[in-house]
Amino acid sequence: MVDVTNVSKAYKEVKVVDDVSVHIKKGTITSFIGANGAGKSTLLSMVSRLIPKDEGSVLLDGEEITSYDNKELAKRLSVLKQSNNIKVRITVRELVSFGRFPYSQGKLKKEDEKLINEAIEYMQLEDFEDRFLDELSGGQKQRAYIAMVIAQDTDYILLDEPLNNLDMKHSKQIMKALRRMVDDLGKTVVIVIHDINFASCYSNHIVALKDGKCVYEGHPEEMITNNVLREVYDMEFNVCNIDGNRICVFFT
């Protein structure tokens, strides 16, 4: 589990994340939702030690995340940010292979190759595993990055807008894959997500941020309601129950 306690981050005078505490249970999907600039990505970056936090603590299985050994932490927690602009010329397979770096330190063994193949299959990338990344569409790239994180084979997987650039088919495919990883392999997934209907259908826990503060958190049933969403997003929603899922209608 991950215990986030009273973390804050300010850039100059502006508090981007303000005294947020979140408890992330093992074997669940937790979604961070909120408007643009609410502090979701910053919170995720602090939880994954990509940026230093000003205050508070992030405990991963009881130990402060910044006191972990880098290599050991990379075997337990992986993170994928939304702004991926890798500039090197690299094929999909080579990128996925980098996911094994914490284990192999650059020298791939047999079991590394096996996990790389599995990750490529998982994301259905077999057809273009030897293509260069800069020749791919945005969605294919996104799937390649996720495959890399899968190859990293960590207990905790943190993803910043994993559905960015993806069409409906691939969005669903990725959410299903994440769900499977949680249900079958016992992974813990934390995502920043804009599509609240995906958050509603696939997560166990939803954390709503507004202006850097955690305003609501809870089970999707408690969270996906007209009142909560109105307050989080400052707009009107119409939550319907369709086939047992809570779906928000807000398009018109």
Binding site: L50, N70, N85, I86, V88, R89, I90, F98, G99, F101
Partner: protein
């Protein structure tokens, strides 16, 4: 064509250029010509290798293909340090003092400067390569102007004495420092080997590297230290050549089109040795010393630099 095959071709070209440089038109004066040429070849080879390797590493750290250590003023800083030492300690003592001591002192100061650079520029949040480039070019010009100013202030007689020793050029390589420079290069390279496996990961970007368990700050600091040693040795042996690194690192990227540093770095080194020696051969035998190789390199490299800036290439 496979990576290894390309590497072998580049290696053969650089060996061929070494042979051409050493054995062309010796004219029977073997015992006079050969040792001098060998010293020169050693100096140029070491310089070429150091500049190529340092530039490839630097570009990987900064994640771009426009910045080079000399473009942000590393080699002008070395010249400034040398000048300042002469200015402060005086030429008279310098003649007495050990040349190697000056060299090592400057190298040490260079490493310190590299770490300061890391603290002040790399650790700023939201680093921007154009900002770095701008700061670097201004600093570089600033360093060379200060050096010139100090050189004017030094007693002309003293300056003449030390000039020869301290400020090298391709036609007048500082062969006295060959041995100690070589040892430093070797030591820095052995140190670098422990970190080469991280270079490929770092080329993916800082966040990816951290995600994959690289202690990013510590590794980058050490790599900058190695770069500082490389640049110092290269500048001490033959003086600054601004655009060489830019050309050879980019040629290596174009030839290999990969992220793998085990090909990129040797590739850049071979291209560098080949082009420097061939260039110097042209200067000596075709232009008969009417120009210097620095002029040629900077002419070609400057045009290439403008091309890169205009193209604003973000695809490696």
């Amino acid at each position: 064509m496979g990576y290894n095959k390309k590497l072998i071709i580049l290696l053969s070209l650089s060996v061929a250029s070494i042979l051409l440089f050493v054995f062309w038109d010796v004219g029977g004066q073997w015992d006079y010509v050969l040792p001098r040429r060998l010293e020169k070849v050693a100096a140029i080879t070491m310089t070429g290798a150091a500049i190529a390797a340092s530039t490839v590493i630097f570009q990987t750290i900064t994640n771009n293909r426009i910045l080079t250590p000399s473009l942000i003023g590393f080699d002008s800083l070395y010249v400034l340090l040398q000048t300042a030492i002469v200015f402060l300690l005086g030429g008279g003592t310098l003649v007495m003092m050990n040349n190697h001591f000056h060299f090592l002192l400057s190298v040490g100061l260079m490493v310190v400067f590299a770490l300061l650079l890391f603290l002040f520029i790399f650790k700023r949040e939201g680093k921007n390569i154009y900002f770095l480039l701008l700061v670097g070019i201004i600093l570089g010009t600033f360093f060379s102007s200060i050096s010139e100013f100090l050189q004017v202030l030094i007693d002309p007689n003293e300056f003449l004495v030390v000039q020869d020793k301290m400020f090298a050029s391709f036609n007048n390589a500082n062969t006295e420092l060959l041995l100690v420079g070589g040892i430093l290069l070797l030591a820095a390279t052995l140190y670098l080997f422990r970190y080469t496996k991280y270079l490929d990961v770092i080329s993916l970007g800082e966040e990816e590297a951290v995600n994959l368990g690289v202690n990013y700050d510590a590794v980058v600091k050490r790599l900058l230290g190695v770069i500082a040693v490389y640049v110092s040795v290269a500048t001490a042996l033959v003086g600054p050549i601004t655009f060489l690194g830019l050309i050879v690192a980019n040629v290596s990227h174009e030839v290999f089109r990969t992220y793998r540093h085990k090909y990129l770095i040797p590739g850049a080194i071979f291209v560098s040795i080949f082009s420097l020696l061939l260039g110097q051969w042209f200067v000596e035998h075709v232009f008969t010393f009417s120009t210097t190789i620095s002029v040629i390199v900077n002419f070609v490299g400057g045009i290439y630099f403008i091309y890169l800036l205009v193209k604003e290439n973000d695809v490696w």
